[in-house]
């Protein structure tokens, strides 16, 4: 199952890299970022962690890796983070919610939609949190350099 997950998430993220027109030499990295993110998520869910904190952790790690890769290749971070978070994105939940809305099952729809909202919030929070952390580290390095 884990190998299946690894292969599937790698190709899904890399394919989204192509759909979103990421530069050619970054496609494999996009796939790897997506794979790492999805493996963390799947592992945490398998360990019976709720999907919201699992998503938060995975997106935090994705953002960290994307920042490192971006700094090395001097590209914007979103080139790696956008295809990377695609597997985590609650597309299927959003679809499920909409399906229930259209089928008149409003109470199920609302609860699924709330879950989708929480998960997208978790992804966004993971990304923002790691960016803030990155800025703090940068600032600390700067002040250190100034003191010297």
């Amino acid at each position: 199952m884990w190998i299946e997950y690894a292969i599937a998430s790698f190709f899904a993220s890399a394919a989204f890299g192509i759909i979103y027109q990421a530069p050619r030499n970054t496609i494999i990295k996009c796939g790897l970022v997506g794979m790492v993110g999805w493996m963390i998520y799947a592992f945490l869910v398998w360990k019976e962690v709720d999907s919201v904190p699992a998503t938060l952790t995975a997106s935090f790690v994705i953002a960290l890796i994307s920042q490192t890769l971006a700094r090395r290749s001097r590209t914007p971070m979103i080139i790696f983070s956008v295809p990377g978070i695609i597997p985590l994105v609650p597309g299927s939940l959003a679809y499920d919610a909409m399906r229930n809305f259209v089928l008149n099952d409003y109470s199920a729809a609302i609860s699924i939609a709330a879950k989708a909202f929480m998960i997208s919030g978790a992804i966004a929070f993971g990304l923002v949190f790691s960016e803030v952390l990155n800025q703090i580290i940068k600032k600390m390095k700067q002040t250190k350099a100034e003191v010297r």
Partner: protein, 247 residues
């Protein structure tokens, strides 16, 4: 005086390009003010929304507006625009050179052919089905449905010009393909096939960006993107639901 006008045009073009191709709102604003700064204008202000960009070079000067009518995600163009802004910041590029370069990037053809994108969407659909715990029996039908849906989407967007309608029709086609294949005995779980094959259409990224913009304090951007995402999700859900009712 002419130099100032050119600088404003450059900043607006840069902002428009980045916004159109899917850069984050804060990065667009940041890049525009930074370009102005590297030509000695420290007091510029920019206001970026998904549908339009306003920019003023100094307090009291005229504000200029540029409309952003179509948005897509093209990371290569964001990357190239970022390169240009980096060169401007390090003083390697004049206003004119940068402007010319940006125009060239704007009109340059996309890196991947349509065919490659279709293949990518096809594979992505299949692999998403696997990730959502579908079996390998569902892989092929998901590929077929997802690929057809993606082809329908890119063609219908040109035809209808209203994205909402194109997405609705594309998801109708996905639903139809998935359910017909399933009733022919191809595939195990129709739900997993459908979920996987709509993934190339689903506005997941838009939802996440919306929440992120809201968190960063770009309230208008966040709400606009949220509305766009909701409309797309509604179109897809409705298209599939029609097929549910029929089969």
């Amino acid at each position: 005086m002419e130099r100032t006008e050119d600088l404003i045009e450059l900043c607006l073009l840069m902002g428009k390009m980045m916004q159109q191709n899917g850069a984050e709102t804060y990065r667009v604003e940041d890049t525009m003010t930074r370009i102005a700064q590297s030509f000695g204008r420290d007091e510029s202000q920019s206001y970026v929304t998904p549908t339009g960009i306003m920019f003023t070079i100094s307090p009291g000067a005229h504000a200029k507006l540029v409309r952003v009518s179509a948005r897509e995600t093209n990371l290569e163009k964001v990357n190239l625009a970022n390169d240009v802004s980096r060169k401007i910041a390090s003083g390697d590029m004049s206003i004119h050179e940068a402007y010319k370069e940006l125009r060239k990037i704007e009109t340059s053809p996309t890196d991947y052919s349509i065919l490659m994108q279709i293949i990518a969407a096809t594979l992505a659909s299949g692999f998403f089905t696997i990730m959502f715990q579908g079996s390998w029996y569902d892989f092929l039908p998901a590929c077929v449905a997802g690929g057809l849906g993606f082809i329908a989407l890119i063609n219908f967007i040109r035809l209808f010009e209203i994205k909402f309608v194109a997405e609705f029709v594309a998801s109708l086609l996905i639903g139809f393909t998935a359910f017909s294949l399933f009733s022919l005995g191809i595939g195990k779980e129709v739900d997993k096939i459908v979920v996987g094959s709509i993934m190339p259409l689903v506005p997941g990224l838009l939802i996440t960006n919306a929440v992120r913009d809201l968190m960063a304090g770009h309230l208008i951007s966040g709400l606009t993107k949220g509305a766009e995402a909701f409309l797309t999700a509604f179109a897809i859900g409705a298209g599939i639901a029609v097929m549910f009712a029929l089969f």
